[in-house]
Every structure is written in structure tokens, then in C-alpha cells.
């Protein structure tokens, strides 16, 4: 993992001291709320319905056990005993007191963490594939580049007041697990014919009220040009992005209004001027950052196959979990494990302080000291010996985190929604919980296969509903909640935005509607290998519309 150098440590400490003083001045009345609000947002402090909320950055979703224990400690000491892992690979505490936040930030700084750039119109936490550095299908580890981008973008004076927030995601595998095509900039790390590393560059993706899939403006950008090219994009955006209308201020609108070719020409022109500037990455610097992410020295554990096949025979629960929650590692003796934060009927993404401590212990015991947060709101232990999987599974059962549902219908992404969020129009979590309970049966989930449900409680789309195979958007209509359904979305390579299927559903209808959609898929799929998304792409919306609304048309 990346370790802070002297500069990083001093920088974060200085920031804590600065914000501590700002909080003190706010509490004394020296600063008004109007003056203080932009300052607190720069430090991840929001105001929600019941309390303040503190959003803590987890760069590219990577955590050490020590950091996880600190988060558990904060949950226990300053909050209500739990934290919420988000689709931005971050963690939110929903109940901190303003008076405690300086102390919380001080504690975070002790473990090389902070809340800088988790809000505001700046470059936000850079996200990456949660299996980075471990996945068998990876060309190279994307995290060194995410770290280079983090260092470059931290308090970047030119890009601290952009027209709107700016999100960058990086993947190092052809299978996109980082949703790069729905980010402001998506970077796909790959090799060219000569075996050199570089990036396919996507720009202008995003969700929110105007969902758009990013456009590829470069098929291969040499790695040394990463910062010059990204700077060129940011400069074009900073200059031309709309500041007159918040809802049209994201780069996706600029790309759309300018046209991809023209925007690309502007970026290339800017890039030409910057190309040989000090932003050009020296080979030695890239390799130095890469060294921080050197893969752990994994011991040979050839007994894994025998241990796993014995456990599969002895324990059907383990077999289910292995099938869904273990991902192929580049070392055949190892696997990357998804620790589901989607227990049946639980709040997606929530973990208690006890669970966080336990995960830290397990990461030390079985996981080579690494933990990741996925944008799907699960935790990942990226390097577990297959021979240790039965023991790890047993330990996860003990703490209620062994649900075998990674990628299944109950592995639902949901934003906090109206239960917490001041922007929400409807609740998301209770909908997720009810769907989870309806489809609790492991056999039924396995029969349905890969199916992603994503739920947002407002048009800002923190729950990524536009790219859910089944997307659910909560709105407020005549003072009550109403849920609009979209089908066919995907955040994988070749992302698609889901299509609205028809009129929305009341809270007591939405789970039935999901079940109708699922039953229609099961009845119409060619065979059990045809996934929901593939079937939807083949069938189109008609059979689903008919199943959902056909009786209404007939009655009319």
C-alpha cells in the first residue's frame, strides 16, 4: 500500500489544524454559516436530516487493517456504532457532532486518512477496480496511477474551483469493474502492441439528472503523458464548462454540447502545449510509486484445491459462498474474496464497529493485510489463500458477513436516501431491504443468476440506478414516495443507460414489480446461461412492459 511520506503527513496535519481553527471560529460565532459551509464541505462535513455527516476518503478503496480499526474506533467513540460504505469507495459517518469532528480528523490523520476533497467542485477521490493488483485478468495494477492522480489533484490550485465536481476512475482490466464509462474521466490501463503501458481515455460520462456514457477520445495514451493529458482535459473543462447552471455544469454536458470531435481537438491542442512540460511523468517516478503497490509476497499454498474441494463436499453453505464470493486471483493458490455487506434484509453498505474490527483481524490473519471497498458497497479481501477459504468463511459466518450473494439480485446498491439524506425525495434502503427479503432464497437467487439492482432516492443518482440492470429511482409525487423503474442499464465495458419502463410504483408495489420483471426474464430467457441483461438486450422492453402494465391496458 501507499505510505505517506513526510510531505503527506505534514500536509494532512496542517489541514487538520486549519479546520480545527475554523470549527473553533464557527462555534464562537466568528464565522457565519454562509462563511463556514464551503470550508466544512472542503473537509467532507455535510449537514443531513438528523445530524452532520462526515465523508472520509478511502483512496481507490484501499484500506489497511490499522485504518479499518480506526474507522471502527471512530464509529464506536464518536458515532452510533456503524459506518456506511459508499459507491465512491468512501465511508460516511451519519451522526458526528461538529464539536467532535476536529478530534476525529486528528485521529484519522494518525492512520494516514482524511476527508479532503470528498465534497466540493474539485477532483474527488479517485476510484479503481476493487480487485486491483490481484485479478487474473488484469494487465497492470491501476492503483499507482490512481495514487499519482491523487497526489497531483490534492489541493490543486487550478482545479479547486471547477464548474462542478469531477470524478476519475481507473481500471487495469478489460472487464471494467470500476464503472469507468460513467465517470468524468475513465482510464483503462492497457498495453499496446509493443508491450508499453498506457491508457484508453474516456471523457464525459456521468449519472445524475442527465445520464451519459463517456466518449473515448484516446485509444492509447502513453503512461508518461497521464498528467499532461488529464490536465489538458481539466483545462478545457475549467475554461468552457458551464458555470451559469449547476445542472449543466458537469463535463458530460460540455462534451455533449461541444461534440466529441471538437472537444477532442481542443484537448489535443492543449495537450500539445503541455506535452513536454514538468507534468510529463519521469519513468523513475512512476516506478517509484509503483513500488508502494508491490504485490504481497504470497507463499505457495498448493494444498488449496484439496482443502477447498473437501470443504465444498462437507458444507453446502461454503460451496454457495465460494461460487459467488471468491474471484479468480492471478496466483492460482489464491482468491479475492467479496465480504458481502448485503446480508438479507440488512442496510446495503453498513458495517458495525464490531464487524469492522473483525474484518481487520481477518485481513491480518488470512488476507495479507489488505482490505478494499468496492463501489458496489462491499468489502474485499484481495489476497486470500484458497486453502484458508473454509476458515475465513467460518469466521465470516460468526460475524454475519458470509452472505453468498456477490453479483446476485440481493447484492443491491442503494444510496442512504430519505432515511438520512437532505437531498433525497424518497427512501432507498427499505426498498432494498424488502427486495432482499423477497429473494432471500439462495436457490432462487442462483437460478436468477447475475442481476444488479441499483436504487437511488433522488435524481442525483448516488445509487447508480441508471446503470442497474434493474434501476429504481425514488421520487416524491403528491407528498408520497413513488418508484420509477429502468431496465437494461450497465456500468461494465460498453456501458448503457437503462430505459424507463413505464409509470412508477408505490412503495407497496415496487417489490412485486421487481418480481414480475424477474419472472418475465426467467420465462423468456433462452437458457440459464443467458443473463438478465443479455435477455433484456435481446428482447427489448416489450415483454416486460406487457407483464407490468398489460392488465391495465386491457382493463382500459
Amino acid at each position: 500500500m501507499y505510505r505517506y511520506d513526510e510531505f503527506d503527513q505534514a500536509f494532512v496535519k496542517a489541514r487538520v489544524a486549519e479546520f480545527t481553527d475554523q470549527v473553533k471560529r464557527r462555534l464562537s460565532g466568528e464565522l457565519t454559516e454562509d462563511q463556514f459551509k464551503p470550508l466544512r464541505l472542503m473537509n467532507g462535513v455535510y449537514l443531513q436530516l438528523h445530524a452532520y455527516m462526515l465523508r472520509i476518503a478511502i483512496p481507490y478503496g484501499s484500506l489497511s487493517p490499522r485504518q479499518m480499526r480506526k474507522l471502527a474506533h471512530i464509529a464506536r467513540t464518536y458515532d452510533k456504532g456503524y459506518g456506511h460504505f459508499t459507491t465512491r469507495q468512501n465511508l460516511q459517518f451519519h451522526w458526528p457532532k461538529l464539536v467532535d469532528i476536529p478530534r476525529i480528523l486528528e485521529e484519522l490523520a494518525e492512520v494516514e486518512m482524511h476527508a479532503i476533497q470528498t465534497s466540493g467542485n474539485c477532483i474527488r477521490n479517485v476510484t479503481a477496480d476493487h480487485f486491483a493488483g490481484a485479478a487474473a485478468d488484469e494487465v497492470a495494477d491501476p492503483r499507482p496511477y490512481a495514487e499519482i492522480l491523487r497526489q497531483w489533484s490534492s489541493l490543486h490550485p487550478e482545479f479547486s474551483y471547477l464548474p462542478r465536481k469531477f470524478k476519475i476512475a481507473v481500471t487495469g482490466a478489460a472487464r471494467d469493474r470500476a464503472a469507468i464509462e460513467v465517470h468524468d474521466i475513465g482510464l483503462h490501463l492497457k498495453k499496446n502492441d509493443r508491450g508499453e503501458l498506457g491508457f484508453a481515455v474516456f471523457v464525459g460520462g456521468g449519472l445524475g439528472r442527465t445520464p451519459m456514457v463517456a466518449k473515448k477520445i484516446r485509444d492509447f495514451l502513453p503512461e508518461r503523458d497521464l498528467l499532461t493529458y488529464v490536465t489538458a482535459i481539466l483545462r478545457v473543462y475549467n475554461l468552457n464548462g458551464r458555470r451559469d447552471n449547476k445542472y449543466k455544469a458537469r463535463i458530460k454536458i460540455l462534451v455533449h454540447e461541444t461534440g466529441t470531435e471538437e472537444l477532442k481537438a481542443q484537448v489535443e491542442k492543449e495537450f500539445d502545449e503541455l506535452r513536454e512540460s514538468e507534468l510529463k511523468l519521469p519513468e523513475a517516478d512512476i516506478r517509484a510509486i509503483e513500488a508502494y503497490f508491490a504485490p504481497p509476497k504470497l507463499k505457495a499454498r498448493p494444498e488449496g484445491d484439496a482443502v477447498v474441494s473437501k470443504a465444498v463436499k462437507a458444507n453446502p453453505g461454503f460451496a454457495d459462498w465460494l461460487r459467488r464470493n471468491a474471484h479468480t486471483h492471478r496466483n492460482p493458490d489464491y482468491a479475492s474474496v467479496t465480504v458481502s455487506l448485503k446480508g438479507i434484509g440488512e442496510v446495503p453498505g453498513d458495517a458495525t464497529d464490531v464487524q469492522m474490527d473483525a474484518i481487520a483481524d481477518l485481513a491480518e490473519q488470512y488476507g495479507n493485510d489488505e482490505i478494499r471497498v468496492s463501489h458496489e458497497q462491499n468489502l474485499i479481501l484481495p489476497h486470500v489463500a484458497r486453502a484458508d477459504l473454509p476458515a475465513l468463511h467460518a469466521a465470516l459466518v460468526e460475524i454475519g458477513l458470509a452472505t453468498s450473494n456477490a453479483g446476485l439480485i440481493t447484492d443491491i446498491i442503494a444510496c442512504p436516501g430519505l432515511d438520512y439524506c437532505a437531498l433525497a425525495n424518497a427512501r432507498s434502503i427499505p426498498v432494498a431491504q424488502e427486495i432482499s427479503e423477497r429473494f432471500a432464497s439462495q436457490a432462487r437467487q442462483d437460478e436468477i443468476g447475475d442481476l444488479q439492482i441499483k436504487i437511488s432516492g433522488c435524481i442525483n443518482a448516488c445509487g447508480h440506478h441508471h446503470v442497474g440492470h434493474i434501476g429504481i429511482l425514488g421520487v416524491e409525487k403528491k407528498g408520497t414516495e413513488l418508484y420509477q423503474v429502468t431496465l437494461g442499464g450497465s456500468a461494465r465495458e460498453g456501458s448503457t443507460i437503462g430505459e424507463i419502463i413505464g409509470r412508477g410504483f408505490a412503495p407497496d408495489e415496487i417489490t412485486d414489480a421487481v418480481e414480475t420483471i424477474v419472472d418475465t426474464y426467467l420465462a423468456r430467457r433462452e437458457n440459464s446461461n443467458e443473463s438478465f441483461l443479455d435477455a433484456y438486450r435481446r428482447l427489448g422492453p416489450a415483454p416486460f412492459k406487457e407483464a407490468l402494465y398489460g392488465h391495465e391496458a386491457k382493463a382500459a
Partner: protein
């Protein structure tokens, strides 16, 4: 009918303007303005408290009286008054339940 809701500066706790323009931490104790004049008065009192750095995010909330209790018309404000609907064990709802059990 309206009440004034806000969040306390120091800890963010949801509070309402009660009798004597004191800030109370349960909606049952909120002062209900029943005419435009009183609405204007409580709104002004809320803004004074904002200026005095006692509370933030001051809002006027539409309410009705149902079975003798103050009920906000919008679900948002009802959740704000109780706590997250998914966690009956935390927030004001838990405190209120403990009080009524006592």
C-alpha cells in the same frame, strides 16, 4: 399550520422552535403557528437564532394535528422528527420510545 425546524449548530441534532422561542429536541414540544402573523413571527425568531449561531438550516415546516399530535405533511420532515425509518433503535424515535416506556 407551520412549525420551525432547524439543526443545532454544535452537534447537528434536529430541533424545533418551542414555547418562548426556546429550541426543543422533540417535535411534540414545537410551537405551532396557526395564522400568517404567527408564522412570520416564528420564521423571524428562527432567523434570529441562525444569526446568533445557535442553529442552522432553519426551515418552516407544514404540519397538521392528528390525534392531538403534530404531524409534518411531508415524509421528509416526519423522518427528520423520528429518525431513520430503518433504525427504530436510534435517533429521536428510540429516545421517545424509551421515555414513553418509562
Amino acid at each position: 399550520m407551520k412549525i420551525v425546524a432547524a439543526n443545532r449548530l454544535t452537534d447537528g441534532e434536529t430541533v424545533w422552535l418551542g414555547a418562548g422561542d426556546r429550541w426543543v429536541d422533540t417535535i411534540d414540544a414545537a410551537h405551532v403557528a396557526r395564522d400568517p402573523e404567527d408564522e412570520a413571527r416564528i420564521a423571524a425568531a428562527g432567523n434570529l437564532a441562525l444569526a446568533a449561531n445557535i442553529v442552522i438550516d432553519v426551515t418552516l415546516v407544514d404540519v397538521e394535528i392528528v390525534e392531538g399530535r403534530i404531524l409534518p405533511k411531508r415524509l421528509r420532515e416526519r423522518i427528520r422528527a423520528g429518525g431513520p425509518s430503518i433504525h427504530p433503535e436510534i435517533g429521536k424515535q428510540a429516545r421517545n420510545a424509551a421515555l414513553s416506556a418509562a
